[in-house]
């Protein structure tokens, strides 16, 4: 039987984002779910409290039969600009979300590449600059590019959301080295978004120093989405705990001792 993930181990280590204290560092997507009614169970099983919804997918035909109706009141709704192909469209969708009372958090997705779904860093930065100046808490989805991330920092982004691999690919941290650089260089929370296909990959991202992970496809397309959400909740918490505990250095080889035949590199100092 599934139980709600307790994040007690990391309760003293909340992620502060947009002035809010987030105990769980797992964010969930909704775009590929088979049943919207699963959302409360996914949140409960995983411990996640941030859930992103494409505003374009919000069905306005029925107030009660609407994806928003399935999001518990204590969850943080993170509208996203999925479908936007340029900064202007993203800004329009963000303002629409705000005007309708969905709050001032916005995940910026600007994608003009339907084949690969790769984000447009330039247009994303433009949208971020506009929306941050209007008071939005902006979470932009990007390729892990240091220069774009710096521009986003300067533009007022609240976090940076680099992709681990192309959306839906389940290939994990293909961009690991680039994400590592962002974690080291950018003074913002780095939230790994897209490509994470298994809990072990989310755990790896957290061990690397990511502030959080966003998962959609891997949960939505699992045979048991609720069970998979629970597994991700635990994996993210475990990865974060490991990061805080301090991971040992991974040696390239079994030993660093030099061979006597080679002599020493500093022996000349004693000569």
């Amino acid at each position: 039987m599934l139980q709600t993930v307790r994040n007690d181990d990391t309760a003293g280590d909340p992620l502060i984002l947009g002035g809010e204290r987030l105990v769980s560092r797992l964010f969930l997507g909704t775009g590929k779910l088979g049943r919207e009614e699963l959302i409360p169970d996914l949140l409960r099983a995983s411990g996640a409290r941030v859930i992103t919804v494409a505003l374009r997918r919000v069905d306005l035909s029925h107030n009660s039969d609407n994806i928003l109706a399935h999001i518990p009141g204590d969850a943080r709704l993170l509208p996203n600009t999925s479908g936007a192909r340029n900064a202007a469209e993203a800004v329009r969708i963000a303002r629409l979300a705000s005007a309708c009372g969905a709050g001032n958090w916005i995940k910026i997705e600007v994608i003009n590449d339907p084949r690969n779904l790769l984000p447009d860093g330039y247009e994303t930065t433009k949208a971020t600059e506009t929306l941050a100046s209007e008071g939005f808490i902006v979470l932009p989805y990007i390729n892990p590019d240091l220069y774009v991330a710096r521009d986003l920092l300067n533009a007022g982004a609240a976090a940076v959301m680099p992709l681990g691999a192309p959306i839906g690919s389940n290939r994990g941290l293909q961009t690991k080295e680039m994400i590592r650089i962002l974690i080291e260089e950018i003074d913002l929370p780095i939230i790994v978004d897209a490509g994470i296909g298994a809990p072990s990959q989310a755990c790896e991202a957290m061990e690397l120093g990511a502030a959080a992970c966003l998962v959609n496809t891997a949960v939505a397309t699992a045979a048991d989405p609720v069970g998979m959400a629970a597994a991700f909740g635990r994996a993210v918490a475990a990865g974060r705990a490991a990061r805080l505990a301090g991971l040992g250095r991974v040696l390239e080889r079994g030993s660093t001792a030099s061979s006597p035949d080679e002599g020493t590199l500093t022996g000349f100092l004693d000569a």
Binding site: G31, K32, L33, G34, R35, E36, L55, R56, R57, V58, D59, L60, S61, H62, N63, S64, N66, L68, A69, I71, P72, G73, A75, L77, G83, R85, R92, I93, R95, L96, A97, A99, C100, G101, A102, G103, N104, W105, N112, D113, P114, R115, N116, L117, G168, S169, N170, N216, T217, A220, T221
Partner: protein, 401 residues
């Protein structure tokens, strides 16, 4: 991915490349064996020759393997969400004499074009079903229902729907742009067949007779700013294998020329009832139809694939996992049929799946899919009413800030 021999003449459009694509298909298929098909299916990304192999007779033996790959690709890209829409027939005046079509100029059909008030009534009747995506159709009658009429109709629809597509005769770039400004975000164009000689026999008179002008219509639409282009051949007119191959190559060409364009396919099989009695279609079996679908899905995993009510409820349900991502529901193929019933003999084609929108949505849910009614936010209706509706939706849930 790119085959330079095929695509080198593409600077001016798909027309110059059509013959090279046809040659590539013929060469690839004639040499195909089961081992070639299996090797193609083992690749991460399929190129044009692989696509041709999947459409070859030899690939019929690997249909289950291809279907499994198509299923996996569809799940990876689209998950369990499936879009719903309905066609809305604005007018059936037509000056063409397409020998397979119930709307052709020689048929005894009662002709009409909806007035703005009637379009509003149709829109309202569709809107209450929950649908937010609509595809507006007309016959080919430039004087009665030309670009001015289409743009005006689209403007009415854009006030109510979050996405408005058009399936209308070929337009100029300027007219596509005008229709896009009125609120259309996508166009569907059926080339019918990519075989120019057959095309000429099937379209003896009327503006549609111009094969090349129609073939380049999707490119003109994409140039005009339309967000999406949906392509299709009417399966059963000619050789389905080569027509599907050419459809895929046409899409590939457009995707390369317009990387931001949302590409889609429709897979209509010709239906009886409406055609000229002298016309004899080339039947496409269910097995062939599945082969066409899964080959397209494996070649272009990101493309939206539409299946209309020309197919039975049984087939539509069974094809959902294999690549279909958009379905029509609650369909009437007559003019003005949503607000008022249309006589059965006054439709373009007889539908095979008569499920209402609610029934279709319920059946999708039973099969484990989420019906998606809205998938875009057209600015045409103005953002303030939309914001008001969203605010109501949110206040009903207590979600948000």
């Amino acid at each position: 991915m790119c085959n330079d021999d095929v695509y080198s003449p593409l600077a001016d459009g798909f027309v110059p490349a059509r013959a090279a694509c046809a040659r590539l298909f013929a060469e690839s298929v004639s040499a195909a064996g089961p081992g070639d098909v299996r090797r193609a299916l083992d690749k991460d990304t399929l190129n044009e020759k692989d696509f041709a192999l999947l459409l070859s007779p030899a690939a019929s033996d690997e249909l289950e393997t291809t279907a499994r790959r198509a299923r996996d690709e569809t799940m990876r890209r689209f998950g369990r969400a499936r879009q719903l829409f309905a066609p809305l027939y604005l007018a059936n005046y037509c000056t063409n004499r397409c020998v397979y079509c119930g709307f052709h100029a020689g048929s005894g059909l009662k002709r009409r074009a909806l007035t703005p008030e009637e379009i509003e009534a149709e829109a309202e009747a569709l809107h209450v079903t929950g649908l937010r995506r609509v595809l507006a159709l007309t016959g080919d009658a430039p004087r009665r229902t030309g670009a001015d009429y289409i743009a005006a109709a689209v403007a009415v629809l854009a006030r109510r729907f979050s996405s408005v597509g058009i399936e209308v005769p070929s337009q100029s770039v300027e007219d596509y742009a005008r229709i896009a400004r009125a609120g259309a975000d996508g166009m569907t164009m059926f080339q019918e067949t990519y075989d120019p000689e057959l095309y000429a026999r099937l379209h003896p008179t009327g503006p549609k007779r111009d094969f090349a002008y129609r073939l380049d219509a999707p490119q003109r639409a994409a140039s005009s700013g339309m967000r999406s282009v949906n392509l299709g051949a009417l399966l059963g007119l000619g050789d389905w294998r080569s027509d599907i191959f050419m459809t895929g190559m046409h899409a590939q060409f457009l995707q390369r020329k317009f990387p931001g364009l949302e590409i889609g396919f429709s897979l209509p099989r010709i239906r009886p009832a409406e055609a000229d009695s002298a016309f004899r279609p080339s039947p496409v079996s269910d097995r062939d139809f599945v082969q066409a679908l899964v080959a397209l899905r494996c070649f272009m995993p990101h493309a939206c694939i539409t299946l209309s009510t020309r197919e039975s409820a049984f087939m539509r349900d069974k094809l959902l996992p294999l690549g279909v991502t958009r379905l029509s529901a609650g369909v009437c193929t007559g003019v003005g049929g949503y607000a008022r019933p249309t006589p059965k003999n006054n439709v373009q084609f007889a539908i095979s799946d008569g499920r209402s929108v609610a029934e279709m949505a319920a059946d999708l849910e039973k099969l484990g899919y989420r019906p998606v009614f809205s998938d875009w936010l057209l600015p045409g209706g103005g953002d303030l009413p939309l914001a008001g509706a969203l605010r109501n939706a949110l206040s009903a849930t207590g979600t948000g800030a």
